[in-house]
Symmetry: C2
Subunit: 246 residues, 2 copies
């Protein structure tokens, strides 16, 4: 019996891994965040217990409580799935949960998921890398609480030469744009902001770095900054086809 | 009938997405790279045609030929899966294939896969982000041909403040280490290099940035640079458990 830290991917249930589906189906208890698509929970077997520790703005479950819950359930010998949106180790605080389990000597595994930082731009036709255009990409959190907007050297990041993907960056987008331009990125640098990525409701807003601070965006959005953000390797009919499930 | 650009993930067949498994099983023809685990091809239905365009050092299939092949097969109305290791849009040249298909008006979809840049460190117990330690990560190719070692401002990257994951960087590792240290990263910065990640054969070499240039590494390896590279959120018994398939 083990605790599995499982990535649920960006929203489309078909973007779960085979391993995630198997472990969800075998779980005694599923400890889950707010998921962008809760039909994923229907993959559990009858009788599975669900514990919603979803972090909602203003009313979060403290991370320490989640860590303690996982240790407690694991110590009971239950088969536990800790289901996290996206990828556990990309701003998912999976590292803290892994550390707590390791210190308590509870066996656990980590099952990667498709991170929205890559999967969401891909579903909108945007490649985060592209030959002769972007030989790197940086994924960064814009969330002040996570240290993103304060502990990142945005001016240096502007000079790296690759794509920048900002998660949880809507509220800090004016500051981020200002600092990236201070670092040398021009105001005409393409920007795409994607909401409800990989789902039928997907909305893509195209703008520029100079306009990002005042663009009408809603959280949560995945913000892509760089030359590739102007790309759209899908026409509308194909996009419809894609989000409907190929 | 459509061409599907599908990510095969880092190696473990259970890390395929549900959608990838379905599309592989429905394909008339599968155009595949060298895959780190070719048991994935056994998921195809009987009668499926396989075309190996795997790029081996010294004898690569030119990308233009692959693009033309996909357009040709798509125009025949076949159900085509273009199966690529990892994630199509992370140094997979998926953007070029998407562009060629779009220009030829061939319908296509993009199915994200788990990138080895995240999934391989995760399976070795290394989180690419960690609260109060790393609020960002950059994925970069060290491959000279892809512009990685020449078009990246490594000195600026050293100052960003997050984890650096280098793919295809073994042959250029001395140059990369020198430039990152010139940018201010100290020689004691932890480094982990992972070979055969997510597979039973997984080998993890721990070193430092100062020693990276002379460390005994073999390609292909995923190189992780930064404080998180010292982490190992799994003990050996748990790691065995993990790579054996949970």
């Amino acid at each position: 019996m083990t605790v599995h830290l499982v990535g649920a991917g960006p929203g489309d249930p078909e973007l779960l891994t085979v391993k995630a589906v198997r472990l969800i189906g075998e779980a005694d208890v599923i400890v889950h965040d707010y998921l962008s698509n809760d039909s994923i929970l229907e993959l559990a077997k009858p009788g599975t217990e669900f514990i919603d520790v979803g972090k909602k703005p203003g009313n979060p479950t403290p991370q320490e409580l989640i860590n303690a819950l996982l240790v407690h359930l694991g110590a009971q010998g239950k088969n536990v799935v800790r289901l996290k949106g996206g990828e556990p180790f990309v701003f998912g605080r999976g590292g803290e949960e892994a550390q707590a389990l390791m210190e308590a000597r509870i066996a656990f595994t980590v099952v990667p998921g498709i991170t929205s930082a890559i999967g969401v731009p891909a579903a909108a036709g945007i490649p985060v890398t592209h030959r002769n255009v972007s030989p790197a990409f940086t994924v960064v959190t814009g969330h002040r609480e996570n240290g993103g907007s304060t502990n990142i050297a945005w001016e240096a990041l502007a000079q790296v030469g690759g794509t920048i993907v900002v998660l949880m960056g809507v509220s800090e987008r004016a500051l981020i744009a200002t600092r990236l331009m201070a670092g040398g990125l021009v105001a005409t640098t393409p920007v795409a902001a994607i909401r409800w990525g990989t789902r039928a409701e997907q909305v893509v807003v195209r703008t520029t770095l100079g306009e990002l601070g005042t663009a009408a965006l809603k959280a949560p959005s995945t913000i892509v900054i760089g030359a590739v953000a102007a790309y759209e390797f899908l026409d509308n009919s194909i996009t419809d086809h894609l989000v409907a499930g190929a």
